[in-house]
Symmetry: D2
Subunit: 369 residues, 4 copies
Amino acid sequence: MIGYSFMGRAHSQAWRTVGAAFDVPEVARRVIVGRDPQAVAESARRLGWQEHATDWREVISRDDVDIVDICTPGFLHAEIAIAALEAGKHVLCEKPLANSTAEAEAMVRAAQAAAERGQVAALGFTYRRVPALALAAQFVRAGKLGTIRQARAAYLQDWLVDEEAPMTWRLREETAGSGALGDIASHAIDQIQHLTGQRVRAVRGRLATMVPQRPGADGPEPVTVDDAAWATLELDGGALASVEVSRMATGVKNQLTVELYGTGGALRFDLESPNELWFLDAGLPVAEQGFTRVLVTEPEHPYLEAWWPQGHVLGWENAFTNQARDLLLAIRDGDAAPYSPDFADGLALQRVLEAITASHAADGATVTL
Amino acid sequence: MIGYSFMGRAHSQAWRTVGAAFDVPEVARRVIVGRDPQAVAESARRLGWQEHATDWREVISRDDVDIVDICTPGFLHAEIAIAALEAGKHVLCEKPLANSTAEAEAMVRAAQAAAERGQVAALGFTYRRVPALALAAQFVRAGKLGTIRQARAAYLQDWLVDEEAPMTWRLREETAGSGALGDIASHAIDQIQHLTGQRVRAVRGRLATMVPQRPGADGPEPVTVDDAAWATLELDGGALASVEVSRMATGVKNQLTVELYGTGGALRFDLESPNELWFLDAGLPVAEQGFTRVLVTEPEHPYLEAWWPQGHVLGWENAFTNQARDLLLAIRDGDAAPYSPDFADGLALQRVLEAITASHAADGATVTL
Amino acid sequence: MIGYSFMGRAHSQAWRTVGAAFDVPEVARRVIVGRDPQAVAESARRLGWQEHATDWREVISRDDVDIVDICTPGFLHAEIAIAALEAGKHVLCEKPLANSTAEAEAMVRAAQAAAERGQVAALGFTYRRVPALALAAQFVRAGKLGTIRQARAAYLQDWLVDEEAPMTWRLREETAGSGALGDIASHAIDQIQHLTGQRVRAVRGRLATMVPQRPGADGPEPVTVDDAAWATLELDGGALASVEVSRMATGVKNQLTVELYGTGGALRFDLESPNELWFLDAGLPVAEQGFTRVLVTEPEHPYLEAWWPQGHVLGWENAFTNQARDLLLAIRDGDAAPYSPDFADGLALQRVLEAITASHAADGATVTL
Amino acid sequence: MIGYSFMGRAHSQAWRTVGAAFDVPEVARRVIVGRDPQAVAESARRLGWQEHATDWREVISRDDVDIVDICTPGFLHAEIAIAALEAGKHVLCEKPLANSTAEAEAMVRAAQAAAERGQVAALGFTYRRVPALALAAQFVRAGKLGTIRQARAAYLQDWLVDEEAPMTWRLREETAGSGALGDIASHAIDQIQHLTGQRVRAVRGRLATMVPQRPGADGPEPVTVDDAAWATLELDGGALASVEVSRMATGVKNQLTVELYGTGGALRFDLESPNELWFLDAGLPVAEQGFTRVLVTEPEHPYLEAWWPQGHVLGWENAFTNQARDLLLAIRDGDAAPYSPDFADGLALQRVLEAITASHAADGATVTL
């Protein structure tokens, strides 16, 4: 594993627990890699890795390493992932795939070459493994929504509400790529595409930076990424979707909502209540219709049989364990258990994000993919 | 109409609107009766009654009065209702039927005699006409819950939380009969019996007065009724029910909740969201099960076709208009549109309340009806 | 009153009840006007109007008519309202003010002239009188949200989900003006402007017609208005707002949601639970922060003192009674109780709607007002 | 650790993750003990224990074992716990402490003796470590509720709704001690006592077995424990509490609800939404009052700083990790970080359960503790 901060901790929890929850090949937590020798040593101890190292190139060349899990900031993804794939390793890369389309294209090429050698290149849009969202996908695939015509997704946070919140690398375009768009709209759009089974073919977008400068180490610095973003998406199956994201939604800590409306039914999800899926069956008599709050905590639900008995909720972290399970099965079983999203999905998403940025630059004009 | 305070205002609203909403016989608001000449005159003007009077005996003997609507405090119900029935009038009596079983028995006898003359004697447990609760009854009658085994009802209010809230007639046994038990447990128990279609056959009960004295006009006075009550009820269909009521539930203004659990499904209702009925169909596959939030605002729902187009919620007062409609239809159509609850239902409920009081006095021992 | 269908019924209910609920000047329901003599006669009887007529011009010239309440389809608003104002009457006009900006401008001129004669020209965006939304406005005015930076509003319905739902005048541009945009986005945008106290100064918009033709009397007919619409709005106080409306949101009957995010707090409202206002006070310690569900049913809340005791919810219709009260007080008290929105507000809103349409026609380009 | 089924898995997850989440002494998962050699070997592999064994007596005598974690069925608790304490080990015992008061008393004596030797004897009412409930306790301790007068708790499940659900050891008194009472009412009562800070001093109780026999291996067998239970509790601080539990609540998988009403405020919790605490501050102006939905996911909340950044919810299992942390700190820091509940709390609770059973046997009479 490369990286040991927030995502490194979450992925470590996944590797630590996947074998207890699921019937998967055993996986050892061999080496954790980071730039700061002391910090990575401490992380190895805390997070339960056998070794620690500071040179990721050396580690990915080791024979006793089979999987490289990339938890670094996005601007390092391309270099590490390509090197790891070329070294014959399976790769799990945190989202976003890359900070630019050019990088993402190179990663896809590396992944295609690696796929021919039987390697898996997996992308970590972990919310796909939240059981309620996995159930949503099942419902759509089973035709319960009929033809989906309209979708809505929003992702709201509030960590930039305070104007005095300091400047960070996340607020500079050169390090972060974009702001709320890449960080959280990416999740919203991935869900829209994944759940509907439709791809974005055209967008209109708008970005806004509500607090244009923030305190830096040497005085005020300009914020060069978006605080909030809006887009409408045309999907190739005919549906229209809206996306709204913000880091300025006062009091809202981390709320992703997704709504799907089809000819046969509707679905709603809210990450603040992640064990619930709300489903409306439009085929019922009107007097009985309504959104059903399905508590996704039963053995009959995706991933749940491996966890606890009926009625015991999961948390945010369990989705990472579910993701580790799916990756291990994909490695073991190949095409019989394909992992999704792959790098090509990540590239496609990257292009959507860039189209939104381009639309914003063109005063909201439609940008076709 | 006799009485012009809270219930008088609510019933006036019902009589004022019933003809616009529903296709019912026309009804004139002939006379409103109250003890205070000035206040009743003002009420007549405000509430739209043609005349006002202070002597109810005179009014109920008038030939141009067909229906007597009794909105007085409970201790006057028996005398007025019996006289009105004997004068050949249809009667609508607010709940509770009476303050004692003896009074209630006399009222039932008068109602039975009147029924033979074609008169209707109706009791006003208005919540039965909240559309969501009427839909609940329909669901149960249609077998959607299978055999109901367990029921729960609670009615919580907070208007006595403040220890300095002054003494009133509602807190004296001689005027109010009982406290939370008669005032709000009566609603909860009526719903349990009505929705399950089962009658209480035995109870265990507990009463409590949490603030034993309150400021009166001449210093502290003892509170002689209950602030809160609890009971378990055995129903004659085999179900077991619990009831909990309180006037000391801090911050809870007026919350009646009802839950029913049967072999085939479950229902939940909350008066704070009175346009919603939550239904769980236990026959669905487990992966799709959950409580469905039915917004009871559609023409397909009870009473709703008369009101507004889809998706427009009703308020508390509309249930009184629905009640007026049902009464007018019962008067017009006789047995083809029987009104429920009648005085016998009120007597049966009164006996349940007295059994709970008796059980409390007997240290919680079972009291059989 | 001109018009006797849905809005005519709702306004009649308001005129019927306003004097009972509120301390206002007495108002007689003098004449109801409609084109169909039989239907208007029946409406007069059912809705309690003293007389009925088919010629609105004659009626507005009567000396015993003081207020003209216009409940006709939008394309008749301008002609009737201008005539009524010129005849010296106070006017209440249902939303939308008119179907075009030109009409709306003429109405504003008439209203301005009438104002100098002391007449009131009122516009019926009734949701402003839903107590929870009135409380929201109070909270904003009191500074509880600080500076509002972001707003979100959506209005979802589902009555066009069925592709076989027949063609109506509401789906033709020449009669309806627009589709979901004028019908329901108008409510959403009125709330955004009213609650924030900020005016829209620029928009980007998108419209969509998801089912392009529908069964007409003589075979399929093209739908010439939008089924759904999206917009982002720049407000003159610096806030950014999004609006999304649809008549294709499967299973959603009538849901207006509004969210406001400010430097000091946030508000959320959902018309499916119209007696609730959700408020977040960002000034509280983080450990105690969250959205508070204020049940807007207390005497301390706007309009509520006139209605029922604590904890008794209101329905959709009560907002019309509240509106009638505010109009009567504005007529009685003049500038001491000004009514809002007025015709100028309606014109401003009309311009926003047309700007959204223009933006859509210009591939989403910003249109400045 | 003794035991490897449901609780064994949950506790293993806690020991596996506690060191990564919290700054605690390192703890090795030394030996897991079970009766079935093959099953315990497999559990050791899956759950990550260094060794496995079938003889718990031998294991608790090992010098390299410091903590004995007892996850067996309740009837084995006393023997193992006493032996482990006498062997000088710290003990964590799952709830219920024991199946009888006699056993529990012996355990308390052993724990008292062990305490003098510096050993910790901890009881696992894990819900105390659900962050929202820990926050609730903090709020009460900080005086936010004033004097608590009334409490309500319910624990509903549905796993016995089907009459054909087979007989198990959980439905026989000799193995299970009691039914819903001991299994889930124990949680409800522990929360009531813990959150209010008051002890039960008298009870009235009722038990019911709704399905009196079930299919056994050799035909129908009698169910000798309760399916549902109700009780009212007098607390020594003057509050009155109600408890209702059931295994027959159709469609309800695992719902513990707790409500507290005090002179200064109120709290509500629902295990179906375990990351939420609803708090009402009765000191606010009425117009602003309501239950605040506190999402207990922030670093400022109990246990949360150790987990994920803002807005990331925890699941059921995390409370076990929190529990392990508190135990390790109690062992390390002694009186500076006392662990609660201890065995004496378990005994007190056992006495409450037995009093409820005794009250039921005495037709609901009050039983004083």
